[in-house]
């Protein structure tokens, strides 16, 4: 906990605490039958880092879209620096210094950093010709001022995720933003990148900028913010000073009940089969996967996951985790090596055949892979098992509905409406659909990729419990997560992927964030068993 609330208010602009930078009061916003905001209120003082926390679907993003002029509230007031700006446009919001950094980057990959930054407000010479030199100069200047170091002439497509995010932040600053809203900025970053981001945000705050951080990672909230607004089900439930609260307290406010924050760590499950068959579970032998540019994205990886075991794979994103899971699931061709499920060679088998052999898969990209967003919850709950829900080619709708009702209640999917399109559900509930589908059926091996990404605390706890229960029932689970603590909390053994190889594999009991972190960024290299 650095950067306490003490620095609040002593801003460079000398705007003392009297006038809040943002004041939103009594905001109502509905989408059809769904009420995203119900009388929500938020107050952010200038020069503070304000954390807006809440479960997925609590209405945080909607609130910030209203602030940014992307949406108009049904009721309520929005004030920025004391001025009533309710229902303004995006252009007005930008002009007034609001800058929103979205969760999903909105950069043109084929343009350079500088070109992306000046897009829409290009400095021009002689009327129409873009002045690249001046643009690059401006970008460099801003870059050194803020500590967001990035070469202006690099192509966006060549940047890492963390770098791309820096560009996003630079972009809003470039347009003169003094109030920054960051929507889940750390979801895609590695621990070192997160630390860098914090440094930048603190520097901006000390410069007098106001920062709103949307997140549901409580450790981050506690580490970086000065004040916290907690939202639940579209309503503001609390506004607290960070120094006066605890993570457990925030979690309780978010979910509305007590939450255990450390998933039942390595408690020896009682139901664990005594002597698993040696060839049961998942096994990969000398696996090589070649990526689109002919590079080995998985380079000779061998491992096995036994029944009743969770093998956790950590690593900075883009080191082959995605490709490994896709290869195991049958979604990506294998160049060499073997994949065995319960001792049967599945290397050349289709997705459906692996499925039938007992492989379940929680994919990392739930919105593109895991769900068909236009389909109803009920129909999404049979994706991949549709053939078991049909007779002579016709879908048995009664059984689909029965299945949906059962899964909705046992996995607490909200709203509990089987005929709602999956698109209408919050991220956490979308993830629950996938978990319900993949874990609610017979399976022996589970590939769980980023199972809790972008999911709220309550759902994280629930999903973790599901994984542990499955382990207790003798399932073999391969867990890939960008969250080191998640990997450490759940796994029996931990491996770190670095550049397509396992840099290390060790029992989780012997691992720690520090040790794994070094393998993750490649400063320490080892050989996996």
């Amino acid at each position: 906990m650095t950067g306490g609330p003490a620095s609040t208010g002593e801003s460079a602009r000398g705007q003392t605490s009297a006038v809040p930078a943002i004041r939103m009061e009594g905001i109502d916003k509905s989408f059809g039958a769904i009420r995203a905001n119900r009388g929500t209120s938020v107050e952010v003082m200038p020069g503070e880092i304000h954390a807006l926390v809440g479960e997925n679907g609590a209405g945080k993003s909607t609130l910030m879209r209203i602030l940014g002029g992307l949406m108009k509230p049904d009721a309520g007031h929005v004030e920025v620096n004391g001025r009533d700006v309710t229902g303004w446009s995006t252009n007005e919001a930008i002009a007034a210094g609001i800058g929103i950094v979205h969760q999903h980057f909105m950069l043109v990959p084929t343009l350079t950093v500088a070109e992306n930054l000046v897009l829409g407000c290009e400095p021009k010479t002689r009327g129409i010709v873009l002045d690249y030199k001046r643009a690059a100069e401006d970008v460099r200047k801003l870059s050194t001022e803020t500590g967001l170091v990035i070469a202006p002439d690099r192509l966006i497509s060549d940047l890492s995720v963390g770098e791309a995010q820096r560009v996003e932040i630079l972009k809003v600053l470039f347009r003169g933003a003094r109030i920054l809203v960051l929507d889940e900025p750390t979801a895609v970053l590695s621990p070192p990148e997160v630390r860098e981001l914090w440094t930048v945000l603190r520097r901006l705050r000390d410069k007098g900028d106001t920062i709103v951080l949307i997140t549901h990672r409580l450790d981050e909230v506690v580490e970086i913010s000065n004040t916290i607004t907690v939202m639940r089900a579209g309503q503001t439930v609390a506004r607290v000073k960070t120094s006066e609260t605890t993570p457990a307290e925030i979690a309780r406010l978010m979910v509305g009940r007590e939450v255990s924050l450390s998933a039942g760590k390595r408690v020896q499950p009682s139901g664990r089969p005594a002597g698993p068959q040696p060839d049961q579970g998942l096994e990969a032998r000398n696996l090589i996967v070649v990526g689109s540019r002919g590079i080995r994205v998985i380079d000779d990886v061998s491992f096995s996951v036994k029944p009743g075991e969770i093998l956790g794979i950590a690593g900075v994103e883009g080191n082959g985790q995605t490709e490994l899971i896709e290869a195991l699931a049958g979604l990506r061709p294998v160049f060499a090596g073997d994949i065995l499920i319960d001792g049967v060679d599945m290397t050349r088998r289709s997705v459906a055949q692996r499925h039938d052999a007992g492989l379940s898969h929680i994919p990392e990209d739930r919105q593109r892979r895991g769900l068909i967003l236009e389909y109803t919850v009920a129909n999404n709950l049979i994706l991949g098992v549709q053939k078991y829900f049909s007779r002579r080619g016709i879908i048995d709708r009664t059984r689909v509905m029965e299945n949906a009702i059962q899964e909705i209640s046992s996995f607490d999917i909200r709203p509990p409406n089987p005929v709602l399109a999956a698109r209408a559900l919050s991220g956490g509930n979308q993830q629950k659909i996938i978990v319900a589908r993949e874990m609610g059926r017979e399976f022996s091996v589970l590939l769980a990729s980023q199972p809790t990404r972008g999911v709220d605390v309550g759902a994280i706890e629930f999903i973790h419990q599901q994984l542990l229960d499955a382990r207790a029932q003798g399932k073999a689970i391969l867990l890939v997560s960008a969250e080191l603590n998640e990997v450490l909390a759940l796994s029996d053994r931990v491996a770190v992927m670095y550049r397509g190889k396992f840099a290390v594999m060790m029992p989780a009991a012997e691992a720690s964030e520090e040790v794994l972190g070094e393998y993750m960024i490649g400063t320490k290299k080892g050989n996996a068993a």
Binding site: I34, G57, T62, H104, V351, Y375, G384, K387, N417, V419
Partner: protein, 363 residues
């Protein structure tokens, strides 16, 4: 969000869903009508009088109505064909040649069958021939797409030229009745006309292919929304990556979707060949294949919508003939264009594509 956990079955309220489905096309229609008003006024005519004439010439009498039904039948087939492909995310521009091939297949079969073949059997065989011919034309781009990744739009467009030229060559060079560009009349498999059932339809080309169109529409609906194949087909169309993840073979679905799209368009050939002229005539399909794209778009890729849209476009076409004396027929072409544009702007799917993928909602 609701706090209770009791499962509820209501989707969005009915009224809202109906509004969402109907208002955009309605706006599009009104925009088109207003454009029509202005065009008619520019010719110094009274819009009310011209529209009245248009309605009288189409829905106002059995003959006109029959003509509308006849035109709607072909458009329903090509519209269904296009929408079936679109549901799988594939754009079949080959309706033109598939329809022609279907008609040709039906005519060949009708010529080959001996006189006195039982009607039902002859009809069935001719229809199968039509579907097969269309399906073969549809299968080519399907195969090239799944095997080599060739874009179906390019392939179907090019195939239009090839197939139409081939048919042309067959007809002009080999099968035509002298001094014409059509085959001899078929011996068997003639579909009864509506006029045979109700004499008031006398003279109109409407025939029982209409029933076939409705049946095909129902079959398409059932397949898309009730069968496992349809579940998989729509999944591929909506999110191919998710479909792949769900163990669905995307290539196989593409193959199926384009081939059957061709089959549907091909069966459309019976309307002209078995129902109307009883011979294959070069160029009979001209325009209907392309108009099918508009029909699918306006009908929002739903079989029922396609039927309605086909009826609507048929009315415009026949109505254009009825008001021909007072405004040029090009006015109807302009109106058609306006309707397509307006609907394209109003339909949410299209709007979404136009907007591009925006960030996902957290709300």
């Amino acid at each position: 969000m609701t706090e209770g956990v009791q499962p509820t079955f209501t989707a969005a309220p009915w009224r809202e869903r109906a509004q969402e489905a109907l208002i955009p096309p309605l706006v599009a229609l009104l925009v088109a009508l207003i454009c029509g008003d202005l065009l008619i006024l520019s010719y110094g005519q009274s819009p009310a009088a011209v529209y009245r004439l248009l309605l009288e010439g189409t829905w106002g009498n059995a003959y006109g109505f029959g003509q509308v039904l006849y035109k709607a039948t072909t458009l329903a087939f090509t519209g269904l064909a296009v929408s079936f492909g679109l549901r799988a995310g594939l754009f079949n521009i080959g309706g033109e040649s598939q329809l022609a091939a279907g008609g040709f297949g039906a005519a060949l079969m009708g010529l080959a069958l001996p006189v006195g073949t039982p009607l039902i059997l002859a009809l069935l065989v001719c229809m199968i021939a039509a579907g097969l011919a269309g399906g073969v034309v549809g299968a080519v781009p399907a195969y090239l797409k799944t095997r080599f990744g060739a874009h179906e739009v390019i392939v179907t467009i090019m195939l239009n030229f090839i197939v139409l030229a081939l048919l042309n060559w067959f007809i002009a060079g080999h099968l035509h009745v002298p001094e014409t560009l059509h085959t001899p009349e078929i011996h068997a498999g003639v579909l009864p006309r509506l006029a045979d059932i109700d004499p008031r339809f006398h003279g109109s080309a409407a025939n029982l292919a209409l029933i076939v169109a409705v049946l095909v529409a129902f079959a398409v609906w059932f397949y898309l929304f009730r069968a496992r194949g349809g579940y998989e087909l729509r999944a591929v169309g909506l999110q191919p990556q998710a479909a792949e993840y769900g163990g669905i073979s995307v290539g196989r679905v593409w193959m199926r979707a384009l081939t059957f799209s061709g089959v549907i368009a091909g069966i459309g050939g019976i309307n002209y060949v078995l129902g109307y002229k009883h011979y294959y005539e070069d160029g009979f399909a001209s325009g209907a294949g392309f108009l099918g794209i508009a029909v699918a778009l306006v009908g929002r890729n739903h079989p029922l919508g396609v039927l309605v849209a086909a009826f609507f476009f048929a009315t415009l076409s026949q109505g254009g003939l009825a008001i021909h004396a007072f405004v040029p027929k090009q006015m109807m072409d302009v109106l058609q264009g306006v309707v397509i544009l307006a609907v394209a702007m109003a339909v949410p799917e299209v709007r979404r594509i136009l907007r591009g993928a925006r960030g996902r909602s957290d709300a």
